[in-house]
Amino acid sequence: MDSEATPVVAAIALVVNGTEHRLSVDTRASLLDVLREYLGLTGSKKGCDHGQCGACTVLLDGRRANSCLALAVAHDGAEIVTVEGLAEDGRLSPLQEAFIEQDAFQCGYCTPGQLCSATGMLNEAEQGWPSAITEDVAADPVLDDAEIRERMSGNLCRCGAYRGIVAALREVGGEGARP
């Protein structure tokens, strides 16, 4: 059977949370597989494995991306930040602190993806990227609650902690955020 055919292996290098790894990977392996199964970084979660739930979201060369749909072999040389890399010098990021403060999770399964997605989303907003609901796409957007919800629609939370997630993002990066 084809499915039992010989795997194809490729040599790649990845910088994950600041550490370089040289790996031999099956061409079929997603970045998510490599993070979890090769590197033991199990913070990023395999929810749907189809890009629909966002639990696998990581920062890939600075931008949020679904690691389940990214083939590792296609990202040789990439810099990746996972939830394990958001804290600096043992201190949680302001976003992580805000998630605790605002009760932005219950079971916690989607939280690593929410945190990475939110980190990327706040960068996008800072660069002035519009969203589907931005009134004037040519103007710099104002990150109100509706904008936060639209921009975070790629991350599902089955516990329904959305109110807390929006509150946490509002606190860190939203309209009237503390400087």
Binding site: T27, G51, R64, A74, S153, N155
Partner: protein, 324 residues
Amino acid sequence: MRPFAYERATSAEDALARHEDGARYLGGGTNLVDLMRLGVEEPAKLVDVTGLAHDRIERTPDGTLLVGAAVTNSDLAADRTVREEFPMLSRAVLAGASGQLRNLATVGGNLLQRTRCSYFQDASKPCNKRNPGSGCPARDGEHHNLAVLGHSDACVATHPSDMAVALAALGASVRVVGRGGERTVPLGDFHRLPGAEPQRDTVLEPGDLVTAVVVPPLRMPAAYRKVRERASFAFALVSIAAALDVRDGTVRDARLALGGVAHKPWRAGRAEDVLRGAPATEETFARAADAELAAAEPLRDNAYKVPLARNLIVRTLAELGEGS
């Protein structure tokens, strides 16, 4: 997933040379990798084309926009020129997928993404698009979000792209490099209606590589609107890309394309013909919508799309007319 070889192309010529039977070009992978995981696609080789020099957005002196096929959906939507001069295109791209998918997905891949018909995506089911001649369970099955225009006995699938609907209204064209050299295909002719060959989504031949999208300038108010089953991150039930030029109460020019209704982005030429030269009134807009939708052949469970499309056309044109 079946094992596959992976190669990185360094130029369009190199990509063409590396392409062979059973190979697929890899862009962002957001659709292709998913289809491979589902067993719908089983390429023996992936030729990665994201490293080609087709990653820029340029503007020619006459205002034409050139968008490289490897530009990500995010970079297209966030581009200053696109936001200022082609806001409808930016809005359409932003209406699709999620933020993290748009960061991976490319313009070329967006055009070439496959239908989300649930039978096509389920390798255990018959599907004329996936397995020609096996039948179409969607016709009598779950089809509430499938085609009402231009479908065939063989296939009732819809094309899922938002971006392509805007490009259809904008009169864009697609640059393709193939074994016979380079050619430019008008976007309206790029995607096919299913007919008896639903396995062919586009007019591309094996090995053809999309290198860019060419968008002529549009100098009239335009809008993209999308109706879906939830507020965000869902495919269109019906979407519309529209532009309307009204002077002294008369429609001088109009562009209209519909998404979610057919196997391809549906340029509404009949509606445009009704609009041009007619008074810019709701009565005209309704007449235009009816002229276009007269050809609709809804299935058992998707007849709602016809009045939905009609209302969407009338309301969007009315709002564009008011702004003129």
